[in-house]
Amino acid sequence: MELKLPLSVIGPGEISRLQREITSLEDYFIQAQASKGEGLAPPRLSRMLDELASTNKVNLLDRKARNDTRTGLAKLSETSPTIHLSFAADPPPKALERILIWLRENIHPNLLVRVGLQPNIAAGCVLRTANQIFDMSLKSRFASQQDYLLKLIDGALNERSQ
């Protein structure tokens, strides 16, 4: 089963959490069947799992659907490309969502993103794939513009000396 990831599922951490949730749901159903449902409280489903189920139109009460979802998540965990995005500060969910939308529309529909922090980049982000680093930070922009800054300083010094 090919799953489509909702925007709330960002990276491998969320996939693992979803897998754990489905496992606990499965456990609940097994226990409920064994104890005829007495004294057992159903586990609270997370919004993420709800969204996954609604996005993929999956009925989690169905055992086969649960198994398929678990299998699909395992497959996604193994096959989905993962990138690492670092920001200067924790990104607000809305902003991260917009970035994720762009990434899944333009790069890969099931792209997983690990979010990290790098306060010294000031602004922008650093994207790291398995093979490469794309430094899209303000720090890198400053570094690339250093020659221009040197020209400005040089000009200012020459102006003062004259």
Binding site: P92, A95, N131, F142, L149, I153
Partner: protein
């Protein structure tokens, strides 16, 4: 001269006496007496007084001659001395002038050599100074350039660091979304390529 005068006087006297005695044929006795008389007369004429006078005259004449000769000798000596002095003076002057000329020539040569040496030294010093000046100038320019480059790099680094530190996490990521998405768009092809290769 005195002796000559005396001898002439004696000869004249003898000639006179013989003349007188040969005027007639003398008798043998007479002859003897005449001889005796002549002898006496000669002794009478040439007595001590006459001899003393002749001696005095001779002495005076001799002294006169000696005096004249001494005067001539003195004059001659003076003249010779003066000539000798002139000659010596001339010789000494000539020698001194030659020596002075040699000395002047030596001084002139030494001066010339010293001047040439000084000129060479000045030229060498000038060359050394020019070389040092150019070397110093080059080094100072290089040092200046190095300091300026170092300063500019340090300044750029300081500015970058300052801006990054000043901004810190003050810029909201929501405000950076356009920048981030633009950067992603710019790197889209590379990211896609890298994802495909990774997959």
């Amino acid at each position: 001269m005195v002796t000559g005068s005396l001898a002439a006087a004696t000869l004249a006297f003898i000639w006179l006496a013989r003349k007188v005695s040969h005027s007639g044929p003398p008798l043998p006795d007479t002859q003897a007496s005449l001889d005796k008389t002549a002898k006496n007369q000669v002794e009478h004429i040439f007595d001590n007084e006459f001899r003393e006078e002749l001696r005095n005259r001779g002495r005076l004449h001799f002294e006169k001659v000696i005096g004249e000769n001494a005067m001539f000798l003195q004059q001659d000596l003076r003249q010779t001395t003066a000539q000798l002095n002139d000659y010596m003076r001339g010789e000494i002057m000539r020698t001194l002038q030659e020596e002075f000329k040699k000395y002047e020539q030596s001084i002139s040569d030494a001066k010339q050599i010293a001047l040439q040496s000084i000129d060479k030294t000045i030229a060498t010093i000038d060359q050394q100074r020019d070389f040092l000046e150019s070397q110093l100038h080059t080094q100072s320019e290089a040092q200046k350039l190095r300091i300026i480059t170092q300063f500019e790099r340090a300044m750029a680094s300081i500015l970058n660091h300052y801006i990054v530190q000043a901004l810190g996490d003050q810029i909201d990521i929501s405000d950076q979304l356009d920048f981030i998405l633009a950067e992603l768009e710019k790197n889209k092809a590379d990211i896609l390529e890298d994802i495909k290769r990774g997959a």
